[in-house]
Every structure is written in structure tokens, then in C-alpha cells.
């Protein structure tokens, strides 16, 4: 009887171990390389001795490690967010920003960065951009949740999300039209996303909230599987659709909103990584895919961030450019190869 289960399970466990090792390796490489290369031996020394005083120690502890953690964890959050929404809408081309979450964040940030509204409040906090992006994301999330409680049809929700995106985008573009040239460049660069400049306090927040949301997402695996059959079947199997729908939307949008707030709208990870996980593990079982996308999201994003830093060093490329440049061909080749195999 076990023949239906065991060989596959073993393969999955092997893949998980492989991904974990790859993730650790990626993190190490991320911390070691950059404008100053740090050899493994001294890295070990610096980490074990918590050396923050030497120049290299300072770079490792206050620049590279926060950035690496942010990229890995932010990537994991975006990937899971994309997976949740792909299952929820039963649509493979959905990503974490389909419901206008990033557009809301961009709108609020454009208000702060492009107009002079911020002049009076800029001294209040050093995290003004982060906070305004968070406000935008939460605002859109609140609207989405209210509408989700009123409509039963996921397609309606999808269209509302798209419309919200267009609305926010329209206001943003008006602001851009009236903005001064030098402000626009900063705004455009923010829009492309970056994991640089993270403070430890931000990292701790990200780990705390993101970690909690990821745990909830792991627990959603079972009902996500039932939802793969559509809402009628799911509810006939005993899924409480209203509660699950609320939880899925809350998790997906909070995860992507949180990452957008601290790193800007990093494109493509949330769309591509779930596909890579699905094809790599050869399953649509979300109890496996949620942990798989967490690991794979971390790996892919940290590699992209590494590439963004190194390719034209010292000029840093926007991370969204790298994620799309490398990610799109990978997804296309994975999908077409599968088609051929069938």
C-alpha cells in the first residue's frame, strides 16, 4: 500500500534537504562577496566572535548580513504570497501584486517622495518611505477584505483588485507629471525595489511579523488543496469558505504588503517561484509547496540580489530587473519542457 506514497516522499525529503543546503550556501556567498571579498575563514571568525569593530566586521554585520536576511526572507514572503493567490484565484498568472497591493504602496510613497507634503513631517521619522508604503498597502488590503466579504465570486475580486491598481497608478502618474526632475529619479529607483540599507530593527520586525504569517500559511496547506477543486467542492468537503478566504487574502496581502513597505515592489518572485516549486517537486500539493516556495523564494531572491550587486559593480542594478531577466526564461523553459514531456 505504501508504494503510492513512499518513493515520492523520499524524493521530496531529498529535495527539501537540497534546497536547505542551497539556501545556506547562497546566504554565505551573499555575505562573502561584494566590493570587498571576505574569505570563508575570516567570515567564520567574525560571525562566531561577533566582531563588529573591524572594517570587515562592520561591513558583514551591519550591511551584508541584514541585506542577505532581508533578501532571503523577503523573497520567501513574496513567493508564498504569490502561491496563496494563485491557488485562491485558480489562476497560474496571478502574482502577489495582482490585487493592487503594490500600487497602493507606490501611490503613498509617490505622495511622500514627489510632493512637498512630506516637508512638514519628514523630521518625524527616518522610516517615512517605509511607513507610507505600509499605509498604502494596508489601505488597499482593507478595501480588498471588505469587498471580499461582500462578494462570493473570486473573479469579481480579481477585477476589483486590478481596477484598484489602475486607480492608484493613475493618481501616481499625475503626481509624476507635476513632480520635479530630480525627485522623479529617486522615486523611479524606489519603484524598482532594493534590499539595501536594512537596519537590524527593520529586520527584526520583518522576521517577527513575516514569520507569524508564514506559519499561518503553512497551516493553510490542507484547505488550499481542497480549494484547488473550486469552492463548491471545497465547501462540500467541509471547508469553511468564508474563514479560509479571509485568512488566505489576509496572509497573501500582508506578506506582499510588508515586503513592499521595506524593499519596494520587487517584481516577479511571487509569480515565478511557485511555478518553479510546482515543477521541481512535480506536485500541486500545497502542504509541500508552501515550505518549498519559502526555501526556493529565499534562494532565488538572494541570488538575484547578488547578481544585482555584482554584475556592474559598483553600480547596483534594480532587483526587479534581475528577477525578470533571469526568472522569465527559467519559467518559460520549465513550462515548455513539461508540455513536451506530457
Amino acid at each position: 500500500m505504501d508504494r503510492y506514497v513512499l518513493p515520492k516522499n523520499r524524493r521530496h525529503i531529498l529535495l527539501f534537504i537540497l534546497l536547505l543546503v542551497a539556501l545556506l550556501a547562497c546566504m554565505a556567498v551573499n555575505v562573502m562577496s561584494g566590493s570587498i571579498d571576505i574569505p570563508v575563514s575570516s567570515l567564520m571568525h567574525m560571525i562566531s566572535g561577533h566582531d563588529t569593530l573591524s572594517t570587515n566586521g562592520f561591513i558583514v554585520w551591519n550591511i551584508r548580513i541584514p541585506r542577505t536576511i532581508a533578501a532571503v526572507f523577503g523573497g520567501a514572503c513574496l513567493a508564498v504570497s504569490g502561491l496563496l493567490l494563485q491557488v485562491f484565484f485558480r489562476n497560474p498568472i496571478v502574482g502577489p501584486f495582482i490585487l493592487g497591493i503594490s500600487s497602493g504602496a507606490i501611490l503613498m510613497v509617490s505622495l511622500v517622495m514627489l510632493t512637498s507634503i512630506s516637508l512638514n513631517i519628514a523630521h518625524l521619522t527616518p522610516f517615512l518611505t517605509t511607513l507610507s508604503a505600509l499605509a498604502g498597502a494596508v489601505g488597499v488590503l482593507a478595501i480588498i477584505l471588505v469587498i471580499a466579504s461582500k462578494t462570493k465570486n473570486p473573479i469579481t475580486l480579481l477585477i476589483v483588485g486590478l481596477m484598484m491598481g489602475y486607480l492608484c497608478h493613475a493618481v501616481t502618474s499625475v503626481l509624476v507629471a507635476f513632480a520635479e526632475q530630480e525627485k522623479i529619479k529617486g522615486f523611479v529607483l524606489w519603484q524598482l525595489g532594493s534590499f539595501s540599507g536594512f537596519k537590524w530593527s527593520e529586520i527584526k520586525m520583518l522576521l517577527l511579523f513575516g514569520g507569524a504569517l508564514l506559519v499561518v500559511s503553512l497551516a493553510l496547506g490542507k484547505s488550499l488543496n481542497a480549494l484547488l477543486l473550486g469552492e463548491s467542492y471545497a465547501s462540500s468537503m467541509g471547508v469553511n469558505i468564508r474563514i479560509q478566504r479571509f485568512l488566505i487574502l489576509l496572509c497573501a496581502c500582508s506578506l506582499s504588503g510588508m515586503v513592499t513597505a521595506v524593499a519596494g515592489p520587487v517584481a516577479f518572485i511571487g509569480l515565478a517561484v511557485p511555478h518553479m516549486a510546482r515543477l521541481g517537486f512535480a506536485t500541486s500539493d500545497n502542504r509541500i509547496l508552501v515550505p518549498a516556495t519559502i526555501l526556493l523564494g529565499g534562494i532565488v531572491t538572494s541570488l538575484c540580489d547578488l547578481a544585482a550587486r555584482l554584475i556592474f559593480s559598483p553600480v547596483e542594478l534594480p532587483i526587479s530587473a534581475i528577477t525578470a531577466l533571469f526568472g522569465a526564461p527559467i519559467v518559460i523553459s520549465l513550462l515548455t519542457r513539461r508540455r513536451v514531456m506530457e
Binding site: 500500500m1 505504501d2 508504494r3 503510492y4 506514497v5 485558480r90 497551516a219 496547506g221 490542507k222 488543496n225 481542497a226 484547488l228 477543486l229 473550486g230 463548491s232 467542492y233 465547501s235 462540500s236 468537503m237 467541509g238 471547508v239 469553511n240 510546482r278 512535480a282 506536485t283 500541486s284 500539493d285 502542504r287 506530457e342
Partner: protein, 243 residues
Amino acid sequence: MRQERGSYTIETKGLEVGYGIRGVLSNIDLALPRGSFISLLGPNGAGKTTLLRSLARLLPPIKGVILLRERALEGFPSQELARLLSIVLTDKVQPGLFSAFEFVALGRYPYTDFMGRLTEPDRKVILEALSMVHAGDLATRRLETLSDGERQKVLIARALAQEPDIIILDEPTLHLDLKHSMEVMAILQGLCRERDITVVASLHDVGLAARLSDQVMLVKDGGIMGWGPPEELLKKETVTHLF
């Protein structure tokens, strides 16, 4: 006869079903005997699917009550209902990358723990469900590689994995050729005879319905026009009148 036990799985009283405030069918008073095969016949758009969806609690009734095992259907906790009643719909099901075994395993939802882990008894039920629909050999096959007929059998196996008292099927022979239609119908009949499961299915093939079902329900013109054993009900006039 099973009816003599006096147990009805589903009863309806003064039921009116439809969408919003618009009734599609009204004054439905039914008593579905346990372990019988009940076919719904009627022209397209008569309201067969609406009635089935209401009986499965996917659509709230406009008026009247539905009783399941003499208890109000709306009062059932969803997990308890899922252990009593399962469905096979015409909705296109594309869950992605699953083997037939894994797909049928989704039907264990109301029985498994919060991570959906399968126990040994669960696996036994799944394999039994597959063999009951003559699909034991499909267990390791990928869902997307199955033919229409094989797929329909696996869908029925998934419903069986819920270990229900009653299975509601919307057009289970749609898109199937005669050979596969016959096979699916024979499987459903077997479920009634051997497992005492009540099968309620809408069908478009009067001949198949007449040959295999215990009771036939004629749905037309906003109500149930007739209800009884097929040999009494399906005389030539009724059938011409029906379509």
C-alpha cells in the same frame, strides 16, 4: 426492499429552489429512500442542477425545508455534513499535478488532521474507493493523463472517499460515450446495492435512467412533474411530453 426500513436519507417539505428571489422549482415534496438510485430527468434549463445544488447545501433554498436524516440540512456542521454527503459536479476540475491516488485522497478532508496527513485506515479507504469504481490500476497515474471516462471514475472515487451516505451527481455521463456511460451507471448502481449509498443523479439519457434507476423524478415547468419507479413513470407519452 430498503424502503421498508422506513428510513429516508433526504426529505423536502414545501421546498422552493432558485437563485436570489427567483424560484426555479417550487412545491417540491420529496422523500428519497435510503440506498436507492434516483434519477432526475428533464429538459435543459429545467432546474435539475439547481435542485441538486440545493440538496447539497451549495445553494440556500428560497422556501421550505430540507431534512437530512430527519435533521434540518442547514443546521449541520460543515464537517459532519461532509461525512454524510458528497458531490460530483460538471465543473471543470483542474487541480494541477496530482496522481489519481492523491486526488482521491483530497476526499479524506473531513477525516484527517489539520495538516491533512493520511493514516493507514485513510489509505485503505482511498484504495477501496478506487477499486469500487474499477480504477484501482489508475492509482499512480497522473490526473491529466486520464481519459474522460477514467477521469469521471476518479471523480466518483473522490466522492466515495468521503464515505458518504448519499452522493449527488450532476450529469455524471456528460461527455462520455455509451460504453463509458454504461460503466459509470453500473458503478453507481453497485454503490446503492452493495454499500447502501443513496445516489441522486441528473441524467440526460432516458434509456439509461429507465434501465438502472430505482426511482425517476421528472423535472419540468417549475416543479416535479412525476416521481416513481421508472417502469410506471416512463411510458411513451410521458417521455414525449417531457422533452
